[in-house]
C-alpha cells in the first residue's frame, strides 16, 4: 500500500485513540475506586447506551473482518456463521439477561455462588471465564495484526508484532484506569463508527449494482469461479462428513456460547434494572441483526468487486476483504477516494478491535479479582484492594493475550472466536441454566458442570487439527491430533450438561431449598437486586 494510506489511516486511528483516551480521563475524573464503579460503571447506563455498548462488545473483528472475509472466499458458508451469531441473542434474551441482572452483582459466578458453597463454585466459574476471555482476546489480537500487515504491505513483519503489542498495551491502560465506565463509552463510540462505516460501504456496494441484489449475487458467483455453488452451502463445510460435523459443531457453539460470554454477561450489570437489561438486549439485537445483514452485502460485494483471488492474495484467511473492498469502492488504489475510504475502514476496524479488547480485558479482570482472588486469598480485605487486584489482573491478562496473539497470527479470526464460543457454551452456559432453573442442582453439580465442559473443550482443541497434524496447524511439524473436528462444541457442550446432571444426582448433600427459593424469587421479580 502507498504512503498516503498509511499516513491517513494512522491519523484517523490516532484521533480515535485520542478521543477515547479523553473520554477515559473525563469519565473517571471523579472516580471513587469502588468495585461497583470499576466493574459496573455505577449501574447507571440507559438501555440505549447499554444496547450500543453490547453491540460494540459483540461486533468484533471476527464479524467485521472475519465473516465478510469468509463470505468473500466461500460464499454462503460465511453467511451461516452470521446467522448463528444473531440467533444466539434469543437465548440471551429469553433465558439469561433479565435473570442474571436480578441475581448477580458483577460476574457469572455471582449468580451460581448465590445458591451454592461459594468458594469451589467461584474458582470453577472464574477459571472458565478467564479461559474464554483469553481465547477471545487472542482472536482480536490476530485481527489487529492482519490489519497492520495489510496497511504496511509485505515489509511489516516486525511492525505487525509491534502493533499487536501496542493495541494490547493501550487497552490495558484504558481498562485499568477507566474501569467499566470508560470501557462502555469506548464501546458506544466504536459501535456508532462501525455501524456508520458498514452502512456507508453497503450503500456504495448497492449503488455499484444499481440496487440489484440479484445482480450482486450473480456477479459474485461468476467472479468466484465456483458458479452457483458459491451461493449455496457446502464450499467450506461441504466436503467430507468431518467437515460437515465440524460446522454443526460450530453452529451449536455459536448459538449457545453467547449467553456464556463473560464480557457480555457483565454488561447487564451496568443498567439499573432487569427491565433495562431486557431493553438493552432489544437494542443490541436490532443493531447486531442490521449489521450482519450488511456484512452479507459486504462479503458478496467483496467477492464480486475485488474477487476472491485478490482477497486470498492479501490474507489467506480472508480477514482483509472489507478494507480491500473499500479501496476499490473509493476508486482504486491510486485515487484519493480509495485512499480515504480505505483509511477510514482500517481505522474503524482498529477501533473495533481496541474496543472489544477493552471489554474482554475488563470482564476477565473482574473474574480474576472478584472470583478467583476473592476466593483464594487468606485474609479478608476491603473492596478497594479487590479493585487494585482487578487493575493488576488487566495487565496480566493483556500480556498473555498479546503473547498468544503473536503466536496465532495466521489463523482466521472468525474461527478463533468460534473456539471461544465453544468453551463458553460448554463450561459457562450449563452451570448458568442449571442454577437458574433446576431446583435440585447442588454445589458438586455446579463444579462438575464447569470443569466437565471446560476440560473436554480445551483438551479436544489441543488434540484437534487446529494445533497439530495438518499444514494449517499452529505446530505443523508435530502430530498429536486425535480428534477430527476443529470445533469441540458438538462433544463438549453435551458433556458440560451431562457432567452437571451427574454431579447433582451423585451428590451427597441435599439441595438447599431455601437458597433455591431465593434465587428463583429474586431472578423473576428483582427483589433484593443490587
Amino acid at each position: 500500500m502507498t504512503d498516503n494510506h498509511q499516513t491517513l489511516a494512522l491519523l484517523l486511528f490516532s484521533s480515535f485513540v485520542a478521543v477515547t483516551l479523553a473520554i477515559t480521563t473525563w469519565v473517571s475524573r471523579n472516580r471513587r475506586g469502588s468495585a461497583e464503579e470499576f466493574y459496573a460503571g455505577g449501574r447507571l447506563f440507559s438501555p440505549m447506551e447499554n444496547g450500543f455498548a453490547i453491540a460494540g462488545d459483540y461486533m468484533s473483528a471476527a464479524s467485521f473482518l472475519g465473516i465478510s472475509g469468509l463470505i468473500a472466499l466461500f460464499g454462503y458458508d460465511g453467511l451461516l456463521y452470521s446467522v448463528g451469531f444473531l440467533v444466539a441473542w434469543l437465548v440471551v434474551l429469553f433465558l439469561v439477561a433479565e435473570l442474571v441482572r436480578n441475581c448477580g452483582r458483577f460476574t457469572l459466578a455471582d449468580v451460581v455462588a448465590a445458591r451454592m458453597r461459594e468458594r469451589p463454585v467461584r474458582i470453577a466459574a472464574g477459571t472458565s471465564s478467564v479461559t474464554v476471555s483469553v481465547l477471545y482476546l487472542v482472536a482480536q489480537m490476530v485481527g489487529a495484526g492482519a490489519l497492520v500487515a495489510l496497511l504496511l504491505g509485505g515489509e511489516g513483519e516486525a511492525a505487525q508484532a509491534w502493533t499487536v503489542i501496542g493495541v494490547g498495551a493501550l487497552m490495558v491502560v484504558y481498562v485499568s484506569l477507566g474501569g467499566m465506565r470508560a470501557t462502555t463509552w469506548i464501546q458506544i463510540v466504536k459501535a456508532v463508527l462501525l455501524m456508520g462505516g458498514a452502512i456507508a460501504l453497503t450503500v456504495l456496494v448497492l449503488v455499484r449494482f444499481h440496487g440489484d441484489f440479484d445482480q450482486l449475487l450473480r456477479t459474485a458467483a461468476e467472479r468466484s469461479g465456483h458458479g452457483d455453488d458459491f451461493l449455496a452451502p457446502g464450499l467450506k463445510y461441504g466436503g467430507d462428513w468431518i467437515a460437515r460435523f465440524d460446522f454443526i459443531s460450530l453452529g451449536l457453539a455459536l448459538v449457545l456460547g453467547t449467553a456464556g460470554l463473560p464480557h457480555i454477561l457483565s454488561r447487564f450489570y451496568t443498567v439499573p434494572t432487569a427491565r433495562a437489561a431486557r431493553r438493552s438486549v432489544v437494542w443490541s439485537i436490532w443493531l447486531i441483526g442490521g449489521f450482519y445483514l450488511m456484512t452479507i452485502v459486504l462479503g458478496f460485494g467483496a467477492a464480486a468487486i475485488v474477487g476472491p483471488e485478490a482477497v486470498r492474495g492479501s490474507n489467506a484467511a480472508g480477514n482483509t476483504a472489507v478494507p480491500l473492498l473499500a479501496l476499490d469502492l473509493g476508486g482504486g488504489a491510486a485515487s484519493t477516494g480509495g485512499t480515504v475510504l480505505f483509511a477510514i475502514v482500517a481505522a474503524i476496524a482498529f477501533a473495533t478491535i481496541l474496543a472489544v479488547v477493552a471489554g474482554i480485558t475488563l470482564a476477565s479482570s473482574a473474574s480474576v479479582a472478584h472470583d478467583l482472588y476473592a476466593s483464594l486469598r487468606r485474609r479478608r480485605s476491603g473492596p478497594r484492594s479487590e479493585v487494585a487486584v482487578a487493575r493488576a489482573a488487566a495487565v496480566g491478562i493483556g500480556t498473555v493475550a498479546i503473547a498468544l496473539g503473536l503466536l496465532a497470527r495466521d489463523l482466521n479470526v472468525a474461527f478463533l472466536v468460534g473456539l471461544a464460543f465453544a468453551v463458553a457454551a460448554s463450561a459457562n452456559l450449563p452451570v448458568l441454566l442449571y442454577s437458574l432453573f433446576w431446583r435440585r442442582f447442588t454445589t458438586r453439580g455446579a463444579v462438575w458442570s464447569v470443569y466437565g465442559g471446560l476440560i473436554p473443550s480445551v483438551v479436544l482443541v489441543l488434540l484437534s487439527p487446529v494445533v497439530s497434524g495438518s499444514p494449517d496447524s499452529l505446530f505443523p511439524g508435530v502430530d498429536f491430533q486425535y480428534f477430527p473436528l476443529q470445533n469441540p462444541g458438538l462433544v463438549s457442550i453435551p458433556l458440560g450438561f451431562l457432567a452437571g446432571w451427574l454431579g447433582t444426582v451423585t451428590s451427597a448433600e441435599p439441595p438447599d431449598e431455601a437458597k433455591h427459593a431465593e434465587t428463583e424469587v429474586r431472578s423473576l421479580t428483582g427483589a433484593g437486586a443490587v
Binding site: L80, D214, A221, F245, V282, Y292, V521
Partner: protein, 149 residues
Amino acid sequence: MDVRFDDPWYDALASGWGELDGTGGVAPVGSAAREEGRGAADVYVEVQRSAAFQEVRRRYRRFVIPGVAVFFSWYVGYVVTATTAPGLMARPVVGAVNVAMLAGLGQFLTTFLFTWAYVRHARLRRDRAALDLRWDTQELTRELVGGER
C-alpha cells in the same frame, strides 16, 4: 417494533402504567412471614410458594419454554439441512436467490419476530406482577431486618 416502554423502577409514580390486560393484577403475598422469629430465607420460601409468584413463574415459563424449543429447533434444523442437504438448499427460487438464501434471511426475520413477541409478552403479562412481588418481598425482608434497608 415497539421498544418504547417505561421502566417501572423510574416511573413508579407516573400515571398510566402501560397497557395491562386485566390479568396483570395479582393478590399480595400473605402476611405469615411478619410473625416473629422468621429469617429472610423464610420470606423467599413463602413468596415462592405464594399464588402470585407461581403465576408469574408460570407465565414466564409458558412463554419461554415453547419459544426456545421453536427457535432452537428451527436454527438447528437450518444448520443441519445446510450441511447435509446442500442440494435442496441450492435449488433456485427467483433469479440468483435460492432456498438457502431465503432460509438464511428467514432466520434473521424470525429472530426479530421472536424478540418483538418476547418483549411484548413480558411487558403485558409479567412486568406488573413481578414488580408488585418485588415490593412485597422487599417489604417483608425490610421488616425482618428492622427497617435497616
